[in-house]
């Protein structure tokens, strides 16, 4: 009953509002300041949530001549108030007075659609198309409204009509692209997005949003459509990002690497490099930065490229990037690298030389750099110290730190102490390190597990690890286990992890087995089961992996790893369904 009385009471009010709007059509716009005032008031009232007052103010704004903005405001406010029907008579009058106003016609279509008056919406659209058969706007706007309403088939018919009337789909490419993606016509959608991007490069995010859900089976066709010759930079850029999102960074780089070498391409490469680095596709990121550097040298980009190369384990290419950047700087400024190398580039230069086992060269680089800002100097000296440490020259490393004026409590001293086997100092200085590398985690895990204060063998193991000799490091960790019984399972677990990462599953399995057999109550025991299961599953031995996971769950029910083990057990288990077909 309540809704009936509302309709009865609402009808005269709606008529009055419509009449007020219709009168507004005849009024000549007054000064723009008045429009601003009326619109401003309406907007403020709408923001404050006083919708009835806002509606009155918007009507006033329309009366004063701010037709499009006022009607858009009315559309919003009337929708909130449930008065959309009331807008329609007024829109008829306004459209008669302003037949070319696209906003009015679009609002009319939207309002009719929202009110469920679909035949009238279609009639209004047809009237709009009759005004100018070559205008794409009626098709575009109506198709968008239908797509938003999930009326795929109706949108399809509108866009087919557009292609007939306009001679091609180019002017409605965006809507066609959206429609085809909705219909699962991925290749056709990609083709339409390509056309839309040609005309409006800012649609790249819309393209990515629409095509990203494509299933694996459709992705090759999308790649072909976006990468087909001639090279379309917008489409290639979208494909690069899509490929990254689909977990194919190399494919992403392939999409944009042959863009013409221009400033805008260089910007695209840098942007892609940043995204690839975020995805930890380090060597792909490096390639993108290097391509950008070939067009435009920048110490900052060179530092990013070298850092990506280092993170990807390619110290030689990191060094090459830095040296090339320094050469270009010399050519450009006439200054040697000593004066021109900024903090970031210097740091990565030292790290690259350090990783290559060339601390003396790293030292020369730091000395040549001359005066640096204090922070940059300290970082460079610290890297230099670690370079000497990695080369096994701990006294030189200490000297470097002293030269840098490092705080005696600096964690770099902690690392040097660890490499020297001084676990007591390392324990004190590395306690609060926030470094999250596997090495740092292994060091912390070990230091809290043992009360031993001195263990040169452990120092050797971490030093070998820092030098990148993981195989020898694994051996040394295993040897150290016999000397430090209270941390033996932690040391063996570290050895096993390094061996598994190096592909030596047999040695790793022997170590995991030893942990489970000799130290079944150690916290590393459950971890060993899980790591072993993962390695077995990765090697395709699902049955053995299942056995290990079950062992973990049943033997260590209180372990924090049990939920993860259950999850992996589900993934390892074959389907329980069987087809009778």
């Amino acid at each position: 009953m309540r809704s009936r009385s509302r309709v009865a009471c609402g009808a005269p009010a709606a008529a009055a509002r419509a009449a007020a709007l219709a009168l507004a059509v005849a009024v000549v716009p007054s000064a723009s300041s008045a429009q601003d005032t009326a619109l401003g008031q309406a907007s403020a009232l709408e923001t404050a949530g006083t919708l009835r007052e806002a509606a009155a103010a918007y009507r006033e704004a329309v009366r004063e001549g701010a037709v499009s903005s006022g009607v858009l405001g009315l559309e919003r406010v009337y929708a909130e108030l449930g008065w959309t029907d009331s807008l329609l008579p007024a829109l008829d009058s306004l459209i008669r007075a302003h037949p070319h106003d696209e906003t009015l016609r679009t609002v009319q279509l939207r309002s009719l659609q929202r009110a469920g008056r679909e035949p009238e919406a279609r009639a209004a659209w047809e009237r709009w198309t009759r005004r100018d058969a070559t205008d794409p706007m009626p098709y575009r706007q109506y198709a968008r409204i239908l797509l938003d309403a999930g009326r795929t088939a109706a949108a399809d018919s509108v866009l087919r009509a557009a292609q007939g009337a306009l001679g091609s789909g180019r002017q409605v490419a965006l809507e066609l692209a959206q429609l085809r993606a909705t219909m699962g016509l991925w290749a056709a959608s990609a083709q339409s997005w390509r056309e839309a991007l040609d005309a409006a490069p800012y649609l790249d995010q819309a393209t990515i949003y629409a095509l990203r859900p494509a299933p694996d089976s459709a992705r090759a066709a999308i790649r072909r459509a976006l990468a087909a010759p001639p090279v379309a930079p917008g489409a290639r850029r979208a494909l690069a990002t899509l490929s990254l999102l689909w977990g194919d960074p190399a494919g992403g780089w392939a999409a944009i690497r042959d863009l013409p070498p221009t400033d805008s391409s260089a910007a695209v490469w840098v942007e892609f490099g940043d995204r690839a680095a975020e995805s930890q596709a380090w060597l792909v990121a490096r390639d993108a930065y290097v391509a950008a550097l070939a067009h435009h040298q920048s110490p900052e980009i060179a530092a990013r490229g070298a850092a990506a190369a280092l993170a990807g384990g390619d110290a030689a290419s990191a060094l090459a990037i830095v040296e090339r950047a320094l050469e270009r700087a010399l050519e450009r400024t006439g200054q040697g690298s000593e004066g021109g190398e900024g903090g970031e580039l210097l740091t990565v230069h030292v790290r690259a030389l350090s990783a290559l086992g060339r601390p003396a060269d790293a030292e020369r680089v730091v000395r040549r750099a001359g005066a640096l800002p204090p922070d940059a100097s300290a970082v460079a000296e610290r890297e230099l110290a670690l370079a000497w440490a990695r080369a096994g020259d701990l006294p030189a490393a200490r000297q470097a730190l002293q030269r840098a004026g490092a705080d005696p409590q600096d964690e770099a001293y902690g690392w040097l102490a660890l490499y020297a086997g001084d676990l007591a100092t390392a324990r004190r200085l590395l306690r609060y390190t926030d470094e999250q590398s596997p090495e740092a985690l292994a060091a912390r895990a070990l230091l809290v597990r043992t009360r031993v204060d001195s263990a040169p063998k452990v120092g050797e193991a971490f030093l070998l690890l820092a030098r990148g000799d993981r195989r020898a490091a694994a051996g040394r960790f295993a040897e150290a286990a016999t000397l430090i019984p209270d941390a033996a399972p932690a040391l063996i677990a570290t050895a096993a992890r390094l061996q598994a990462e190096g592909g030596d599953l047999a040695s790793a399995a022997a170590h995991w087995g030893a942990i489970l057999e000799r130290w079944p109550a150690a916290p590393e025991a459950a971890e060993a089961d899980l790591a072993w299961a993962r390695a077995l599953r990765a090697a395709g031995d699902t049955a053995a992996a299942t056995q290990r996971l079950e062992h973990l769950i049943l033997t260590y029910p209180q372990s924090a790893l049990v939920p993860q083990a259950r999850r992996e057990l589900d993934l390892a288990r074959p389907s329980v369904g069987r087809p009778q077909h």
Partner: protein, 434 residues
């Protein structure tokens, strides 16, 4: 008595008391390790409600005793305390509590005194799922639930149904297949989509292989096979569009209710009048949607999700409570740790009250709405249960949506309704209608 003899007597008494306590402890100790039963609670104490059904299923399958404690702590299970049962529960992350004789007596007393009952579960049902050969497992909530719980099933398709193979199974599940043969009217929106074209071609090829001119012809025969399966004593559980289209195909056995794009001929102009609802299981007097351009089959569905002008919003639905001792079947079907659940869309989301047959049991309804969500009934020697909607944990489900990962929803009350249906054919007690 001297002080010495008094001390000796006290000493003897202390020794006797100690001996008694020792003997009691000796007897009680193994019991603590190995109780008679394991209670699998299904209230909020349960860590993985869905896998609890799998553990129970395997207990029955291995011939071990199991009971369903209806309305007791969310519909708990009482399983034999055997090493394999414990192991399976522990691996699955299913919480259980060992129960010895005294505690068992207390539980049985509580059950006897309240609206609860203990139903023995005897035989693991042979489960069949009707689905196309190439469909992915995540396309169907029941498959997802069975895979997650580890309950074995077999998939069947038209050829097996036409051949009469349904007699090999106790329990059959249907999901969103369209038994009117119109492929859920997806032709309207997806006629050019490669997956739709492939689906249609495969269905048509199979229809022709089995001697039918078109897909609607084949599906009518399949629907008839399913109707006979229930009539002869089978348990049918259907969700989503299968509920509505199965009934339409059964009632429209002798009427052309398919649109021209499905069978080349227009729908019979007087289809509504010619429908034989006496043959149907759940519905009567529904109106078949005559327009080929409206993505709706009939007015059975209350929500009409694919028809913009008719689409109804999602609300919540409430499970009815039943008398556990007098209506155990309905009680089993609504066992849950929640009684009000969020609704979820499907090709068919709900069932309009006005088209329900008089004997239908409503298991869940939406307050104040003209539709219900979950219904059950007997037909011949068997029974059927319909649950509207596609996926309880994906309320808006769209074509191409990411599959539901039940590891993220181990306590899903909506999925519990599905698994109730899988286990209830295992119950020994014959259903007694209130």
């Amino acid at each position: 008595m001297t002080a010495r003899s008094l001390r000796q007597a006290r000493h003897s008494a202390r020794f006797a008391a100690w001996l008694t306590a020792y003997m009691v402890a000796l007897v009680a100790w193994p019991a603590a390790l190995h109780a008679q039963h394991l209670l699998v609670p299904m209230d909020d104490a349960q860590t993985d409600h869905l896998k609890a059904y799998g553990v129970t299923y395997h207990t029955i399958k291995n011939g071990l005793p199991a009971e369903w404690l209806l309305n007791y702590r969310g519909g708990s299970f009482l399983l034999a305390d055997e090493p394999d049962v414990r192991r399976r529960a522990q691996l699955a992350g299913v919480a259980f509590e060992p129960v010895n004789g005294g505690a068992m007596t207390r539980i049985r007393g509580e059950i006897a005194a309240g609206n609860m009952d203990a139903v023995p579960l005897e035989k693991a049902p042979r489960v069949a799922i009707y689905k196309p050969p190439q469909s992915p497992p995540w396309d169907d909530a029941v498959t997802i639930a069975l895979e997650y719980a580890g309950i074995e099933y077999t998939t069947v398709w038209d050829e097996e149904v036409v051949r009469g193979d349904l007699s090999k199974y106790d329990w059959l599940h249907l999901h969103h297949e369209d038994f009117t043969g119109q492929l859920n009217k997806l032709y309207i929106s997806y006629r050019d989509a490669p997956w739709f074209i492939q689906q249609r071609n495969e269905n048509l090829a199979l229809a022709r292989k089995l001697g039918y001119a078109d897909i609607p012809g084949l599906k009518k025969t399949v629907a008839e096979g399913i109707r006979q399966f229930v009539e002869r004593g089978g348990f049918l559980f259907a969700m989503c569009g299968a509920t509505e289209t199965l009934e339409l195909a059964i009632a429209g056995h002798d009427v052309d209710i398919a649109q021209p794009y499905a069978d080349g001929s227009p729908m019979a102009p007087n289809a509504d009048q010619r429908m034989d609802w006496n043959r149907a299981m759940a519905f009567q007097n529904a109106h078949v949607e005559p327009s080929p351009f409206i993505n709706s089959m009939s007015d059975i569905d209350g929500h009409q999700v694919n028809v913009p002008g008719r689409r109804q919003p999602l609300g919540t639905f409430t499970l009815f409570g039943f008398s556990a001792k007098f209506d155990p079947v309905a009680t089993m079907l609504v066992q849950d740790h929640r009684s009000v659940l969020p609704d979820f869309y499907g090709v068919t989301t709900s069932f309009t009250k006005g088209v329900l047959k008089p004997g239908v049991t409503v298991l869940a309804f939406e307050e104040g709405a003209p539709w219900v969500k979950y219904i059950h009934g007997d037909y011949g020697k068997g029974s059927w249960t319909y649950l509207g909607g596609h996926d309880p944990e994906d309320p808006q489900h769209n074509i191409g949506s990411a599959p539901t990962d039940l590891a993220l929803h181990p306590n899903s009350p909506g999925y519990r309704l599905i698994l109730n249906n899988v286990l209830f054919p295992a119950a020994k007690k014959k259903p007694l209608k209130t």
